[in-house]
């Protein structure tokens, strides 16, 4: 099921509703410590809602357990303080603030701010060069790096990454995915939501396939990459 068998995040029979519309239906999912898990599915399948439900941004019904703690009873800020961070879809950086100020937003919970920001500059040296520049003047890829850097500054153990490739050029997508692999290699647990099924299955350990709010398939990423059904539905029929 996972790399070392330690369940880190466990969702059990989770349902999410937008008023009367059910967006997630009896979702059960597990992520182990240091694992890289990807959620694939078409637009509107419920991937982003699933990530939001973990942070209680979209109120879930059911059970979501992280390191033995029930998250559904906690507020979002308490969940973040417990070690979960989200890198939202579409970068969502603050254009009028400088790169440094955007990063400082991520340290809202942090204790060792200067040191933490230095660590981020270690991952993304380009951000150090541009730290006084307003974030709106960064390229799409740099903005995504800034968004990832900001997400890391709350000192998370589990990082939820929502559609990082959205609107980016293929070369930049490769760079961003390389960064995610590096983060996973240094110990961060990653739950990635992504429409780029091929690329994400290549780098992930395991995957869940979502369709209209249901998990319709799960397994090792390598196995899914070679699955005929997945190839037809998400990989354009061939790899």
């Amino acid at each position: 099921m996972n790399n070392n068998g330690t369940t880190f995040l466990k969702m059990n029979n989770v349902n999410v509703f937008y008023d009367s519309i059910q967006a997630l239906k009896n979702i059960s999912l597990e992520v182990a410590k240091s694992e890289f898990v990807v959620l694939i599915g078409a637009n509107g399948a419920g991937k982003s809602t699933l990530l939001k439900s973990i942070l209680n941004i979209q109120a879930p019904k059911g059970s979501i357990n992280f390191k033995g703690k029930e998250l559904t009873k906690l507020h979002t800020d308490e969940i973040v303080a417990n070690g979960i961070s989200i890198i939202p879809e579409g970068h969502l950086i603050f254009n009028s603030m400088s790169v440094l100020e955007n990063l400082q937003l991520g340290t809202y919970h942090g204790k060792k701010k200067e040191q933490s920001i230095e660590n981020i500059f270690g991952y993304f040296p380009i951000l150090r060069e541009r730290k006084e520049q307003t974030a709106g003047t960064l390229s799409g890829g740099e903005q995504q790096m800034l968004s990832i850097g900001r997400g890391l500054l709350s000192d998370p153990e589990l990082i939820l990454v929502d559609e990082p490739s959205l609107g980016l050029a293929p070369k930049i997508v490769n760079d961003i995915f390389d960064i995610l692999v590096k983060l996973n290699n240094v110990g961060y647990t990653i739950l990635l939501s992504e429409q780029n099924a091929k690329k994400s299955l290549e780098i992930a350990d395991r995957a869940y396939v979502l369709e209209t709010g249901n998990i319709v398939m799960e397994g090792q990423a390598d196995d899914l990459l070679n699955d005929e059904e997945i190839k037809d539905a998400y990989l354009g029929g061939s790899i």
Partner: protein
């Protein structure tokens, strides 16, 4: 100094104080008209304390800041994280509750008004000095991590929560500070004008403050300064027959500005670019 100029500057500075008390909570999308009710409470409190109990200005000012902040703090438990509309309704409701209470209380002068409040010897100097202190305080808040967190809440509350920011905590803090500033504005107003009428603290004041904030610009604390000066000053130089149409003129201006420059005449971006250009040259 002519009395016209003195009144112009005194009223403008009082309006700037009040506009700042509305500006700060609007950093988290709270149109906090409770500040107007707070101003009414502390101005009458200051008036009574000075007229009936001989309190001097300074202790009255300090008490008014505490009382104003306390009123807002207590109510912020309910509306600290409420939607904009709810905050507006609660504020307006309190304005009318306070106005009605004053009108029906003979001890406060009722509808006739409260007179005989000792006017400050050098009101403009004291008001200006106080304005500098409050301005510096707001500037520090704007450029602190709390100010940055407020910008995130304004843009996307869910994003703010996902960064570990507590919107209610910041909403309560800003509403409390707003109450303190409005409390001080009430006492300044009382000790500047020397008389109080319940009709002053109504829709007229709410409309004026809203016009100052949205015409001047709500993205920076500086926008309300020229807006207050212009909106207070222009009616004074207009013929009295036109000046009496002031509220209508404000309304037309407000609609025109919102339609053409939704963030107001002075924006954070504009100031930043100006600063950049200056440092570049």
């Amino acid at each position: 100094m002519s009395s016209t100029l003195m009144y112009f500057l005194g009223f403008s500075m009082t309006y700037i104080l009040m506009a700042w008390s509305i500006y700060l909570p609007y950093r988290v999308k709270h149109l906090h008209f409770l500040a107007v009710a707070t101003m009414a409470v502390t101005s009458y409190m200051g008036g009574i304390l000075s007229v009936n109990f001989g309190w001097s200005f300074l202790p009255t000012l300090l008490l008014s800041i505490v009382i104003g902040a306390l009123i807002s703090y207590l109510i912020s438990h309910t509306i600290g994280n409420a939607p904009t509309f709810t905050v507006v309704i609660v504020g307006i409701t309190f304005v009318f509750i306070i106005k009605t209470a004053i009108e029906n209380t003979d001890y406060l002068g009722g509808t006739i008004g409260l007179f005989g409040i000792p006017v400050l010897d050098h009101p403009l100097i004291i008001l200006f000095a106080f304005l500098l202190v409050i301005g510096y305080f707001l500037y520090r808040i704007d450029h602190s991590r709390i100010g940055r967190a407020a910008s995130v809440i304004f843009t996307d509350e869910n994003l703010a929560k996902s960064m570990g920011i507590k919107p209610k905590q910041i909403g309560m803090l800003f509403q409390t500070i707003s109450g303190g500033i409005a409390g001080s504005a009430g006492v300044f107003y009382a000790f500047f004008v020397g008389s109080l009428f319940p009709d002053f603290f109504t829709f007229h004041l709410i409309g004026t403050l809203m016009t100052i904030l949205f015409i001047g610009g709500y993205t920076t604390m500086w926008g309300v300064i020229p807006a207050a000066l212009i909106l207070r000053g222009v009616p004074m130089i207009l013929p009295s027959s036109i000046a009496s149409w002031r509220l209508l003129i404000y309304g037309v201006l407000l609609v025109a500005i919102i339609a053409t420059k939704p963030k107001g005449l002075i924006t954070k971006k504009m100031l930043w670019e100006l600063l950049k250009k200056r440092s570049g040259s």
